[in-house]
């Protein structure tokens, strides 16, 4: 009886703890979890996704990276980036530092707009502001552009901030909630696969660890035979558990990206990446 009461109390305390946990405490716990679980993975190797866990596929992947399949997209992205809009302005006019070497600060919470702004959203906001049509969010030109911008940022360290604004904190919490909530007919959360079962085999795939997930996006995926954005990947992972995906760049996915990228603070930008 006493024991049961204690467990009940601990549960209450723990539940209260979650609500008040600072994002930085969350991040520390996240990193510690993976480092304890995979002690042979170097602190900066998480950016390599599943290849951080598997030596044989790592070596294959290093060879692929010698003639990277995203190279064409990089060329396309650079050209798009430097081509002026009809009004003569360019992407460089919309971004800090002319849009070069800035990937590590995305997504950020825009206190003016009151919402999370991802790199892809910022690209389209820039287009619309200059009288151009917005691009589709999952593949094609948007991925070429954000891939090129990531490339100019390689080696910079992710530094996502959560400003002292209750709306920013709410966005972070919503992203965290999404990450840990079970969904779909199969009743799986993101964390069920990429935290609890990281390193395990699911059919033809080994599950990659959540830590470092966003660092190399957008990504060239052999399965797609093309580039895709992080939200394209969210779409696929939602479908895997038979959940209906939510709109790319809608609130939910942007908040999710905010939480996930915050967890990867301190890791290097290495996008675009190549994956199976």
């Amino acid at each position: 009886m006493m024991k049961r009461l204690c467990i009940g109390l601990v549960c209450i305390l723990m539940a209260a703890g979650v609500v008040s946990a600072a994002p930085e405490d969350d991040r520390q716990a996240f990193v510690n979890y993976f480092q304890k679980r995979f002690p042979n993975v170097g602190a900066d190797a998480w950016v390599n996704g599943v290849y951080a866990l598997d030596k044989a596929s790592y070596e294959q992947w290093v060879q692929i990276e010698e003639f990277p399949p995203y190279e064409l997209a990089l060329g396309e992205g650079e050209e798009l980036f430097n081509t002026p809009f009809a009004n003569g302005k360019t992407y460089a006019d919309c971004f800090p530092n002319g849009g070069v070497g800035i990937r590590q600060t995305y997504p950020y919470f825009d206190t003016g707009l009151g919402e999370v702004v991802t790199l892809e959203l910022a690209i389209n906001n820039c287009r619309v502001k200059n009288g151009e049509e917005p691009l589709g969010y999952k593949k094609g030109k948007i991925a070429a552009l954000s891939g090129y911008m990531a490339y100019t940022s390689r080696g910079k360290v992710f530094d996502i901030e959560i400003p002292d604004d209750p709306r920013a904190m709410a966005a972070y919490e919503n992203g965290k909630k999404f990450y840990y909530s079970k969904r779909g007919q199969l009743n799986f959360s993101c964390a069920d696969c990429h935290v609890t079962n990281a390193g395990m085999q699911v059919r033809a795939d080994k599950l990659s660890p959540a830590l470092g997930h966003p660092t190399h996006f957008p990504v060239y995926r052999s399965k797609w035979g093309a580039m895709g954005t992080l939200h394209r990947r969210f779409d696929g992972c939602n479908k895997q558990v038979r959940a209906k995906p939510l709109p790319a760049q809608g609130d939910e996915y942007r908040n999710l990206e905010y939480f996930m990228t915050y967890m990867s603070n301190g890791l290097e930008v290495n996008g675009p990446g190549a994956r199976k």
Partner: protein, 104 residues
């Protein structure tokens, strides 16, 4: 009325009675089941927890109804409604349960 004739009449009556019962679902039943399924799917979508298997079931139910197979339509729509309700229950459950999964 001879016995034989009487027997065949009662058989006919019996057939008529069971016939109506066995005819099962009609258009109205199918329409009601589909409407209920659609309402459940919508509630799941509003909670942002819709399963991607639900809308296809409803589409199949509509196709079955259009083809005159009302029993099949009701059956499929009932499955879809169950899924919509289950997704709403999942959303309600996860509203608190996710906290227990957070890495600490």
């Amino acid at each position: 009325m001879n016995i034989r004739k009487q027997a065949s009449v009662s058989v006919a009556v019996l057939l008529l009675a069971t016939g109506t019962a066995l005819a099962g679902a009609g258009t109205a039943d199918a329409d009601a089941a589909i409407a209920a399924a659609e309402a459940a799917r919508k509630a799941a979508a509003e909670a942002k927890f819709e399963w991607n298997t639900t809308a296809p079931l409803i589409e199949e139910a509509k196709a079955a109804a259009a083809a005159g197979d009302f029993d099949k339509a009701v059956d499929l729509a009932t499955k879809a409604k169950f899924q919509g309700d289950a997704a709403v229950a999942q959303a309600k459950h996860e509203a608190e349960a996710w906290k227990g999964a957070v890495i600490r």
